[in-house]
Symmetry: C2
Subunit: 374 residues, 2 copies
């Protein structure tokens, strides 16, 4: 029997059935055909795709075909800056960087400080904007150069976006957004308008380049409602339909389907120190057995274990990940040792990231789209 | 018995009962007390106030008191650029210029090209923006210098506005704007968000100056719903409440309460040539009698006559206007002669205006707020 689950851009509740969710939204599964096409152009397949973390899409095949014809396209994703970035947030951005490198395309990255402000009654606008700048450090730290990464902080860089958003907004009625996003009579008009801005970025590269420049949007599948609407109206506005590549959510350290901003122990932040990271991993849920003896005898369940999930996300070596999976299942690998192994991997990742992150400080404005247009 | 009438920011229907409308909206009548206070600081009273064309307000007295204390304030008004400006549109702007001169205060002038685009299914955004530039010429032609007039074309100058609009938007729910503006389920989300932008300009001078700088908004009374909302939320956002000064509508040459953009013969445009102006005035409704004999015997009705209305609006000489009123009523002045007199006044006004208007061409950007901030 299926558990109930709810997924909207603002909420994930219950244990998510990803196949069912994809079907509900009407996205398509990532098949071997698309993966092979991707490999043809990229020369390899990224582990996050190979391991099924990115698992659904709309028109990925069309974008790859377009690329094969030598036509221009761009990457687009975003972040709602409501607090520090956790390493789970980094995962789709790692793929983003890989795609940008392999295909040599520009990235449009939207920091939706306005959305976070509209959505959270307690959030001050200045606070959301501050987080936008802070979070931008994490994106830049992945190694982007300013010619490849175009940062859009909504409240700062609205100017090139607004005329496009206006055209989008005129196509969307209250009825449509109410049905698509579950808005109610007490939803504020900022949040009601906001979808126009998220959709507008999908059309921005075409405006800036003056020729059809579709985007591929790697993001978590909860963002599909925006891009479904974007695809519905694209052609009537003279823009190419955006393509999407959808990931599952990053499991919380507590074992839930998605990390919660309200529980800082459910996630490892990119600004956590080593002691904190060690403690968080040590305290993580694993779904393991009550005693070591039972664990050895009956084995663990890596499929529900966030510790295994993080090995899968952060270890580039397929053989190593597979070994962890099977030795967990067989009972050979106990949770304590597995956590220690994970700590080493995460510690190394975070250390390197924090260094790159600090080097990005004071460079954010050079990445902002506005600074390049003016 | 009262005729039915409807007044919203997008529609005026029926014969407007201005006293009733003021009461419905909850604005206050302009009394001798406020007019005297205005005269104290301005040294005189503008004919448009003296003659009751501006007739209602919110907190005009408070702004004048604030002025008396030597504190800073600003003027704010706007225009929905959907086509050429008619001379009726100029009337409140003439008062605006007078207020700016007499009190030495800056004017924030919003061109709502986005609103016109959202509201009119047939309007292209580029067309509305083109009209914003064209209409700006008419404002500048009144003699403003760039240090006193700050032009905001919404789609071009959104940047300083959006963070304020976001704070406004978060305070306004679908319920509120639906009730205030009569939005329906099929209203587009651009028009739903738009009130945030019109309200935001009322708070912009305070942001730019970094200290409380209330605005006085001279405008037609149909704009009251926006500024009622602005006043409701101002204090919770830390801004002073905007004050307003409301005019009646400019009568159509056809005798209706307000001119209609869909009938070009109902208005004299600032770009009309002399022949066109002559023809439009000659064909104007007057409410006069069927024959000259009856007119002489029974007299005319200047209170319903757009020709008299325009004399009242454009003749600075009180004695001259009064003479027209009474000789119309007595039957001494026939409609033909009265129209000829009006033609001479309007012709002169338009000729001088057109010269000033052409001199403003290519200078618009110097007046735009964005060009001063960047």
């Amino acid at each position: 029997m299926d558990e109930e689950f709810v997924v909207t851009p603002w909420e994930v509740r219950g244990r998510v059935d990803y196949q069912k969710l994809m079907q509900q939204f009407g996205a398509r599964p990532l098949t071997q055909a698309e993966v092979s096409l991707l490999e043809k152009y990229a020369g390899e397949v990224h582990p996050l795709i190979r391991r099924g973390f990115f698992y659904a899409h709309r028109d990925l095949d069309a974008i790859l075909k377009w690329h094969g014809e030598g036509k221009p396209w761009a990457l687009y994703t975003g972040r709602g800056p409501s607090g520090p970035v956790h390493i789970g947030h980094m995962v789709p951005w790692i793929l983003l960087k890989w795609l940008s490198d392999k295909f040599g395309v520009e990235v449009y990255f939207q920091m939706t400080d306005d959305e976070k402000f509209y959505d959270d009654p307690e959030m001050r606008l200045e606070e959301a904007t501050k987080w936008a700048y802070e979070n931008a450090l994490d994106v830049i730290a992945l190694g982007f150069t300013p010619d490849k990464l175009h940062l859009i902080i909504d409240t700062k860089d609205i100017k090139p976006l607004y005329p496009i958003a206006a055209k989008v907004a005129k196509k969307l009625t209250w009825n449509t957004v109410k049905a698509t996003f579950g808005f109610t009579d007490s939803t504020n008009i900022g949040l009601i308008f906001y979808p126009s801005l998220q959709i507008a970025v999908a059309f921005l590269p075409t405006e800036l380049h003056g020729r059809p420049t579709p985007v591929l949007i790697p993001c978590a599948i909860d963002q599909d409602p925006y891009f479904r609407l974007a695809r519905d109206i694209a052609e009537s506005l003279g823009y190419p339909k955006p393509a999407t590549l959808y990931s599952k959510f990053i499991m919380a350290l507590t074992g839930e389907s998605k990390m919660s901003a309200s529980n800082p122990n459910s996630a490892i932040y990119t600004i956590d120190d080593e002691k904190t990271i060690r403690r968080k991993i040590a305290n993580a849920y694993t779904g393991g057995r009550p005693t070591a003896e039972e664990q050895r005898r009956l084995g663990g369940n890596p499929d529900v274990c966030p510790v295994y999930h993080y090995h899968m996300l952060f270890d580039p070596d397929d053989a190593s990940v597979e070994k962890i999976y099977h030795s967990c299942k067989s009972g050979a690998l106990l949770c304590g040792e597995c956590k220690q192994m994970l700590y080493e991997k995460i510690r190394k990742f975070v250390k390197q990231h924090q260094e790159a992150r600090e080097k990005a400080r004071d460079k954010v404005d050079a990445y902002r789209l506005s600074s390049k247009l003016s």
